[in-house]
Symmetry: C2
Subunit: 283 residues, 2 copies
């Protein structure tokens, strides 16, 4: 995963070298530095299952990291989650200002689609399938819907039910974890169903682990503020299920994810390890 | 143009019918209603020059209108231009709130790329060429750069020079006028150079006309606040050139635009009329 992180970072640096030294370009570089690069790693690993050349898969990996970074920059805005700290660093609107953060997020979203439309990203059919699926995963019926559901929950006057929070998280976080898992199958001309099942399980596990981390984690290690949800009286998997049941749910999802990878045998060991990491991470 | 406005409106309504009744979907419909649909009209007319079926060209027209609407929703935010009124109606952040406006703009951008990746939008090659060119026109080296240049100008401590404002406007407004003009050529498999020259001329003329309108126009007819630039002491083509020279510059650009359409003969009459409308419009 460390190798993949470096490769994706190098790839994005190279691709952004075409930009100038203006504030937007600086903000885009800043917002895509660091982080776990979980989604990009997933794109690289799912592509590797089907022997897609890494140079090609890096476009999908870079695109999903830019898409994710845009969502964080906008999500951190004062009118959204109002976060000052991200990955242990000042957020974009703190380091620059709100207008810059809006524009940097906008440009990062655009850049994600620009990367997928590069001729080295795949054939025209593959590139367009990647664009179409990323748009569906991240737009008004995917990630953005999930963010809106999250905001609506805060003013609903009652905590969300387990079904509601599961649906919200599937949109807000899950869809952008499913996308890179399927991107490898799109590039490899393979059936995406097993990887979709795997990604659905780890997407939900990822959020449950996040809620556990919010309660049990260490802010310095995590690089972000914790106990926010509990302090805000927000429904989470932990508040709804209790800590032991939340942990057991995450463990079951880990088993489901592992099971879904069965068709790929030993080749999918890294994806199994990734599922394990997601459930047991400390940041 | 009224026919085209209705067709583009119907097309967007049909395409957005897949969305639910949540706030984001409502905001997206709201933000794409009304307006001149100049950019969409340009896509339809440039496509018509090359006998591209209208059903196909509507995807490019709808996409550029969504992209334009996203830029307006974000540009109207309090941290950007802070506008309460757009097309005679409350802006999205006034009607809903800032978080909704950020997300509605985000989802409209995504939807623009989703439309271009629909299989009815063209062949895979054409669709991907449209995605790539729209991303370049609207991202960190296009429209978003222009918006950032516009914001930077306000804190520069001196008015912009004519060269600087020409560059700024070419990015902020021009690129998204050039794109639909070229989109018709992409879909028609034709040389985009004459349409690019036409669009460059009308893009600049559009902005000069906007600056003239800001000084001479009627707010009720225009459906937006006027005299903002003059009151803010902002450099415009009118403040830099004076009103008579600005009008003469717009007239020269109109002649240039007309000249660029020469290869298409009588078929380009509507595009000639459009150039005339852009220079002489009252809203």
């Amino acid at each position: 995963m460390t190798d993949a992180q470096a490769q994706i970072g190098d790839f994005l640096s190279r691709q952004m070298a075409q930009f100038g030294d203006d504030t937007i370009a600086a903000g885009m570089r800043y917002a895509t530095q660091g982080g776990k690069r979980l989604r990009g790693f997933l794109a690289l690993e799912s592509a590797a299952l089907f022997d897609v050349p890494r140079d090609r898969a890096l476009y999908a990996a870079g695109a999903v990291e830019c898409l994710h970074a845009y969502s964080l920059v906008h999500d951190d805005l004062p009118c959204m989650d109002d976060d000052d700290l991200r990955r242990g660093q000042p957020t974009v609107h703190v380091k620059w200002d709100e207008a810059t953060a809006v524009l940097v997020g906008d440009a990062l979203q655009t850049f994600a689609f620009e990367l997928l439309s590069c001729e080295d990203a795949g054939t025209a059919e593959e590139g367009l399938a990647l664009v179409a699926s990323l748009a569906k995963a991240s737009g008004a019926q995917g990630m953005v819907l999930g963010q809106a559901q999250d905001i609506a929950a805060e003013t609903a006057g009652r905590p969300l039910t387990l079904d509601e929070i599961t649906d919200l998280q599937a949109n807000k976080t899950g869809r952008l974890i499913e996308w890179p898992a399927q991107a490898g199958a799109i590039l490899g001309g393979a059936d995406p169903a097993p990887l979709r099942a795997y990604a659905k399980a780890i997407g939900l596990a990822f959020q449950i682990a996040d809620d556990i981390l919010d309660v049990e984690g260490d802010a310095a290690t995590a690089g972000k503020a914790l106990r926010k949800d509990a302090d805000a009286g927000k429904a989470t998997f932990v508040s709804l299920l209790g800590l032991p049941a939340a942990k057991s749910r995450a463990a079951n999802l880990l088993a489901e994810a592992t099971e879904a990878l069965q068709p790929y045998g030993d080749r999918a060991q890294t994806l199994r390890d990734l599922a394990h990491y997601i459930v047991h991470r400390d940041k």
